[in-house]
Symmetry: none
Subunit: 278 residues, 2 copies
Amino acid sequence: MAKKQLIMEKALELFAKQGFEATSVQQITDHCGISKGAFYLSFKSKDELIVALIDHFMRQFTADIDYVVNHEQNDADLLYDFYYTTFQSFNKHSDFAKILMKEPTQSFNEELFTKLHNYNKSIEKVILSMIDRLYGEQANDLKYDLAFCIKGFMNTYSELFLLYKLPIDLDLLARSLVEKTDLLAKNMTLSFISDELIQMIDQPLNEERTLDQIVEIVEKNIEDMEDSIEKESLILLKHELLEPSQHPAIVKGLLENIRQHPHCKWAAYLLRRHFGIK
Amino acid sequence: MAKKQLIMEKALELFAKQGFEATSVQQITDHCGISKGAFYLSFKSKDELIVALIDHFMRQFTADIDYVVNHEQNDADLLYDFYYTTFQSFNKHSDFAKILMKEPTQSFNEELFTKLHNYNKSIEKVILSMIDRLYGEQANDLKYDLAFCIKGFMNTYSELFLLYKLPIDLDLLARSLVEKTDLLAKNMTLSFISDELIQMIDQPLNEERTLDQIVEIVEKNIEDMEDSIEKESLILLKHELLEPSQHPAIVKGLLENIRQHPHCKWAAYLLRRHFGIK
DNA sequence: CATACTAATGACTACACGGTCAATTGTCAA
DNA sequence: TTGACAATTGACCGTGTAGTCATTAGTATG
């Protein structure tokens, strides 16, 4: 298992520097100090590696901003926290963010394209729920436009420190984007993106998580973990999934236990949604 | 010469569908109904083909929007015409636009990266001149932010019809973006992107700084500063420039000391690059 | 120490790519 | 019809790739 981590870390560095296609398995294994055969003990193919990387980081990122949006009590700070967390995350995982920016979104296989599309949708969902909470009906017709603008800000401003390694004042960046977003939300009148348009985009790619899928993911997580409070919490949560019996407060506590564990963020996110707990 | 046109057209289709790396010369020539040898009569290499494509379309696009911005007499229509022309062009040359969106900006060679950067700069220049004409001093500090927002709108909204082939009401799109842009221009107060930041982006691509130049800049910085930890750090870093002797960890620490100092950002940036420290 | 088992290796295969060039075909003036 | 020249071909080359597997090294057990 540790081998898998090592490969993912080292491969990430190379992918960010040279791109996915341009990096050979040989280079990766050299960089890890292992043999080529060992690589194929951890991953069935090079494609499986890139999928694992994308899952790992996108889950973490989605879970992070979802948590922020659901746990910030003060409406006045919500947007700021969202932007701050987002860019902090981009900054921390800049190697991965670079890959996402640079790689030809669709020249991978179809499966990966849908996967990325779905993560994109999850993020959009978080953004939309934030918009709804802050501006409610006031911006109902305009919510998709607003979400698109927010995504546009995220994309364009992140280039600044991903392509060029510039020193960034995260606080100022977040504040300036809050202002922009707030201005648009409160004064826009013309909506371009309608419900219909969104439906046309989503149509072919609907996919809901079933209980079984969540259980499966949680179980996989449990296997990979060392004995700890977090592992115990996950096991208890798994039982709760199959046979709900505990008080919501207990469930919430268990979720809080695993929230910060890097490998549990995605599971925590799915569980939070499943149990309907903020 | 007609052969060259044919190859460019057919190759464009394949690149848009599969990406540049994933398309072989054999596939291109098959698609053209010519032999592989014939390809190399028109282009010295596959790289030369992609360069030709990028030049062809970027020149056209840059020239198009430049013309619109310079020839629209009526200020009231300027923004609208800009957006309308832009998206019309994206739509007309959607195959090429797709390539631009999808291709790993830097996994080509360095030459191509600079080339794209320069086209990007040309477009930014057009946008900035438009902002200047419409909002003049009113938005002077905010012009770069405004330009970034406009580029963000262009990127994000164009995805709608590049990735998903949706029918687009160009007129509504342009009008809605004009409203957004105008709102931001007239009400923003917080600027994130300063002249200094823009300089940092442009500098390293023009030419690599020599050691002497860096020393000179650092020395100027030291002179201008009052006695402080930051000044001491800078002095130590200057010695390190001339006679490398310290451990990387120490260098990194010194850089961290001056990172937040407003007048040191540029020097810190150059030093980070010089010492190869993230 | 011997045995059984797992983890790790790297030479190897099969293949696809960009690019070359001797050989072939097409063209047209004499 | 001939011959000189230009245009075009596609088999071929060197290189580098993803992925395999017989072999070896390492480790735990009786």
